[in-house]
Amino acid sequence: MTTIIFYILALVIAVFSVLAVTSKKVIRSATFLLFVLLATAGLFLMLNYHYLFAVQVTVYAGGIMILFIMAIFLTHKPGDEFSTKMSWKVRSSVLLAVGGLLLTGYIIVKNVTRVYNYVQSGEMKMQEIGTAMMGTEKYQYLLPFEVISLLLLACIIGAILIARKETSAGETDSDSDK
């Protein structure tokens, strides 16, 4: 049963990943990406990382996807298509991507048998995660957590600054809003 679910998810991920990067329409690419992200969330669930699952769904599939879709609506007319003619660039990229895939896959297949397979079942306690995130001991992550929070703040400010309409010398911000 588990195996079947896993392979369904794996198939979803593989197919929609490729579709997301080859589709001619932007909005479709974004939708395919959403499917991939949700399937990834499913994988996290299978690994018993419930918290990660929740974060993946809310932040990625929820937050980031909304951003993408908003951006697409702002910058594209519906029905815009992109040509995917086989230029030299595309061909070389296919070659490189497939080559890389094969090479890395070879390395993984060759090495992964050496590692010890072990799955601990059972749900991870939320309390445990919270303690680890807020603690200052070894294997606890208060500092990165705070750094991330600062980064988020900086990004909010930066995004606002960048996306703001530039005002010419005489104008004020309220003028430009009209």
């Binding site: 660039k89 070389s92 990229s93 490189l96 080559g99 890389g100 090479l103 070879y106 390395i107």
Partner: protein
């Protein structure tokens, strides 16, 4: 005597203040700041002299005081460069000379330079020069002396080139700097040889009487002479450059392009005697270990004295006449040092007389030569020309300048009772004591000196009447200019009566100057003959000098052209060095060195032309290459396993 450090610091402060704030200050404020500072320095110097010569004597011998000395740089184990203040009879004497002349020049310049562009700059440079010169004489070690020596050279360069819009002034400044710098190169080598072999820079140790420190220098020989002889000779070359000894005298006449007060200060009274001071400072080493070098200095001085005197006869630019007379007089001082045969000086043993007379002459010469230059400046100020043919009959218009100039002329000619007579007579005595030939040679030179000085005097103040052009009449200079003249004239009159032997002698004991009547009478007669000859030829405007010149045309022309020394230099530099050495170097530089550089530039351009497509700015392309590189490296790593 810790306050002596102020003597150094005050001019430096004044230089910084006037130099940095010069643009903001009014010209007269800048002048006042400089002059008042120097007034203080002069007062301090006099007080130092008073205190030193009334107190610091141990067993009848003048002490050497070092109120300040701190280690500035440590070089190796034993060698260190100090900065400090050294007080002994000759440095105190130099303090008095420099500060007096410098103060007079500062006051004089207030009138002379009035309204000049760059007045503040002028005063800043004067302060800088005074600072460096005082630092030079107060140096406690030979390296400090060298540092200030170079500073003096720089400030001299700046002041000669004061009128930097005039090409001739710029050329003269460059010439002075290059020639003296060339000599300083040897000075530096000399210092290095000396200090390397003795392991000290310090005058106190070098003169301390410990002969063992020279054993290394005396032991090692190079080309048949000991290292010490080489060192002392090389050091003298440095002194010869600053003091314009033959054949390095070429820069001094050209240096007259600077403002006249500067000539009085630097190129007559202070900087040019630095070489004499240097030899006097190292006198114990010269006399104790390398007397042959010292006598060589004497011969160089004797030749220079005569040589410059002969040139001075034919020059028509009054400042140049004075410049050559300066060279000649410094030659006298060098002779006096060179004819010394021992350190002792008392009634039975006269070996050290030359040292004393040299210092004495340095003192008196500084005063009367500064007076002559300032007088010349006053004349130039009045008639706006340097040339004798534009002058004549000026005695009616400028009585003060006339009288003071006459006093200075009499002093330099050696007429009693003026100061020049006494000091020159001591030099003559020392020269006759060394050898009769030297004495006769110097006596003849003294006669020529009297002749050309009075030729100058008559051509300026007598001779043909001054032709008044338009409504511009020559007039006496303002008080700021005539006061220094009168003050210096006063010193020139009474200077000879200073019992100089009480203060400065080689062994630092008291020596009473007494005239050698025989020699005194001879030199006065010779001087009077010279003056009479000049009177005969130049007092009335006549054709006789021109006829005489026509008769001795060859000699006259050679002398007028300064014996073609400049041309020889030009020949050596232009023809030999430029064509023979510099031209091939230039070719090498242009074709090989530049060619290599151009080749490199071409290769760079070519390769960047070829590679610029890699820098397309396309991020995707970069990422592509990046990933391809990683994969390649991974592949290689796997295959290598």
């Amino acid at each position: 005597m810790e306050y002596t450090i102020l003597i150094l610091l005050l001019p430096l402060l004044s230089f910084l203040a006037v130099g940095l704030l010069g643009v903001k200050l009014k010209p007269c404020t800048a002048g006042l700041v400089g002059t008042i500072t120097l007034g203080l320095v002069t007062a301090l110097s006099y007080f130092t002299a008073y205190q030193f010569f009334t107190g610091h004597k141990v067993n009848g011998v003048w002490e050497t005081l070092v109120p300040y000395n701190f280690t500035w740089l440590n070089v190796g184990e034993n060698l260190h460069i100090d900065l400090g203040v050294l007080i002994d009879p000759i440095s105190v004497m130099m303090l008095v000379v420099i500060s007096t002349v410098s103060l007079m020049v500062h006051i004089y310049s207030m009138g002379y330079m009035k309204g000049e562009k760059g007045f503040q700059r002028y005063y800043a440079f004067l302060s800088l020069f005074t600072f460096s010169m005082l630092g030079l004489v107060l140096a406690t070690n030979i390296f400090q002396m060298y540092i200030f020596w170079e500073l003096v050279g720089v400030s001299s360069y700046l002041l000669i080139g004061f009128y930097y819009t005039k090409p001739s002034a710029v050329a003269a400044a460059k010439k002075a700097f290059i020639v003296t710098r060339f000599a300083d190169f040897f000075f530096l080598i000399g210092i290095l040889v000396l200090s390397f072999s003795t392991q000290t820079f310090d005058f106190g140790i070098l003169m301390g009487g410990d002969e063992s420190i020279f054993s290394t220098a005396l032991g090692s020989t190079f080309m048949g002479a000991s290292a010490l002889v080489w060192a002392m000779a090389l050091i003298f070359i440095g002194g010869a450059g600053k003091s314009a000894m033959f054949p390095l005298q070429v820069w001094l006449p050209d240096a007259m392009e600077g403002p006249t007060p500067v000539s009085a200060l630097i190129h007559a009274a202070t900087m040019v005697v630095a070489g004499v001071y240097l030899v006097a400072r190292l006198f114990p080493i010269y006399i104790g270990f390398t007397p042959e070098v010292l006598h060589g200095i004497g011969y160089v001085g004797a030749f220079t004295a005569m040589f410059a005197a002969v040139i001075a006869i034919t020059q028509t630019d009054i400042k140049r006449v004075l410049a050559f007379s300066t060279i000649s007089q410094i030659g006298f001082m060098m002779v006096a040092l060179g004819v010394s045969t021992s350190m002792t000086l008392n009634h039975s043993e006269h070996g050290g007389l030359g040292y004393m007379s040299s210092m004495f002459h340095l003192f008196t010469h500084a005063m009367f030569k500064a007076l002559l230059f300032l007088g010349a400046g006053s004349i130039i100020h009045a008639v706006h020309s340097n040339d004798m043919k534009d002058m004549g009959g000026l005695r009616k218009y400028m009585p003060i300048t006339h009288i003071t100039f006459l006093i200075a002329c009499l002093a330099i000619a050696g007429i009693p009772p003026f100061s020049g007579f006494v000091s020159k007579d001591e030099i003559m005595t020392a020269a006759y004591g060394f050898s009769t030939g030297m004495g006769v040679w110097m006596t003849i030179t003294a006669g020529i000196t009297a002749f050309y000085m009075f030729r100058l005097y008559y051509n300026i103040f007598w001779g043909k009447d001054y032709v008044v052009q338009g409504n511009h009449k020559p007039h006496e200079s303002p008080l700021s200019m005539s006061f220094p003249l009168m003050f210096l004239a006063f010193i020139t009159i009474v200077g000879g009566f200073i019992p100089f032997g009480k203060f400065v002698t080689p062994d630092r004991t008291v020596y009473d100057i007494h005239l050698d009547w025989k020699i005194a009478v001879i030199s006065v007669i010779v001087a009077v003959i010279g003056i009479a000859l000049a009177t005969l030829l130049y007092k009335k405007d006549s054709k006789r000098p021109a006829e005489l010149a026509a008769k001795m045309q060859g000699l006259y022309k050679a002398s007028y052209n300064k014996f073609y020394i400049d041309e020889v230099y030009m020949f050596i530099t232009k023809k030999i060095i430029f064509n023979g050495i510099s031209r091939p170097f230039a070719w090498f530089d242009r074709h090989v060195v530049d060619g290599a550089m151009n080749g490199m530039a071409w290769v760079t351009g070519w390769s960047s032309e070829k590679t610029k497509r890699f820098q397309s700015g396309s991020m995707q392309w970069y990422a592509w290459v990046f990933l391809a590189g990683i994969l390649l490296i991974t592949l290689i790593a796997i295959l290598a396993n």
